[in-house]
Symmetry: none
Subunit: 210 residues, 2 copies
């Protein structure tokens, strides 16, 4: 791969991260130039202008960010040579599946070290897809097992706890016996190996269940 001929672009709506990350990329001295954008328009104009040049596009994506992923298709339409590398902080299986459905050339976790970026450029350079180990771990774990360890009924009841209801209050709302709620609660806590409702809720939130 002759990357010195290629241009790198860092796109991130957090300007400070974009600037920082491109400082790192520049230091590699692998690209002809490194550019930073945090507005969609600037990016698309640049892609059109350099539609004949091989481009590596580092695209930040996080949950609350809408533009992120659809931009992949836009970029591909504007420049056939563009290589898309998504840099993401998401951690839930569902969100990752969503990213992978756009089939980016690379997917790097923000929890990775910089060596992941190097590794990614190597793999992607030979035309293969790179997915950083942190992320690969998340998806492979959730392919084998259930997405969530809880049943629908359990999650439903969990919502009540998340809204601050007690066992007694939840029983009232659901027209179930207090004992049933205790049982559900107990089962959920056992499944994720915790022993309090706050720990259970903390777990559920990490898994983006509630």
């Amino acid at each position: 791969m002759k990357k010195k001929e290629a241009i790198a672009i860092v796109f991130d709506d957090h300007l400070l991260f974009a600037d920082s990350f491109s400082a790192l990329i520049e230091r590699l001295e692998l690209f002809r130039s490194v550019h930073t954008f945090c507005e969609e328009q600037e990016l698309t104009q640049f892609l059109i202008k350099h539609s004949g040049t091989p481009i590596y596009l580092f695209l930040d994506y996080y949950l609350k960010n809408q533009i992120g992923l659809p931009l992949i298709n836009v970029a591909r339409r504007l420049n056939k040579h563009v290589i898309i590398i998504v840099v993401s902080s998401v951690s839930s299986p569902a969100a990752i599946t969503n990213i992978l459905s756009y089939n980016p050339h690379g997917l790097i976790s923000k929890s990775s070290g910089f060596d992941a970026v190097l590794e990614c450029l190597n793999i992607v350079g030979r035309g293969e897809q790179y997915i950083s180990p942190e992320i690969a771990g998340i998806t492979s774990n959730s392919n084998l097992k259930n997405e969530t360890p809880f049943s629908a009924r359990e999650v439903e009841i969990l919502q009540h706890f998340a809204h601050g209801l007690s066992i007694a209050q939840t029983a009232e709302r659901t027209y179930l016996s207090k004992h049933t709620i205790v049982a559900h609660r107990r089962n959920m806590m056992a499944k994720v190996n915790v022993n309090s409702i706050t720990a259970l809720l903390s777990y559920a939130r990490k898994q983006e269940l509630i």
Copy 2:
């Protein structure tokens, strides 16, 4: 200010951002050295080891990040010379008020450009507090109301509950008596008129305090 004598630390649980940002800081050649940590323990050990050296600590903070803010107090206890600069992506008034209640030397938005970092180092160097314009705008718009009902210490302790810790566990982590934790908890619950920790957490989440 003779910053060449100071050490810079970048703390962020997203290793990739931490690495990137420190590359940028290094390029300034203002500090004797620049270090990167993404584990609390590594940071505290370093602070203890260099307790006599002036240190600039760039601390990432975002909503889902538990360690962030309480770490300010820990850092100050371990090194009296530490200068805290929070780098944050939060945007809600309550969350910002929360950060400011820890009285950091600087608060930079991730939407800022790198010039904000330079400006911040200047201002902080003369002993004043720097708050990046993006963030100052948010608070000034809403400083009439929107005060969080909790003190900094209370919110700090609330974070532990949000992460599923019990009263006993929180007491251990904070090196406080169990009775003190009970008191803080009780006071917070009284302030928002609830009578369980789950209801309190539910309230805090609505207010984007945790």
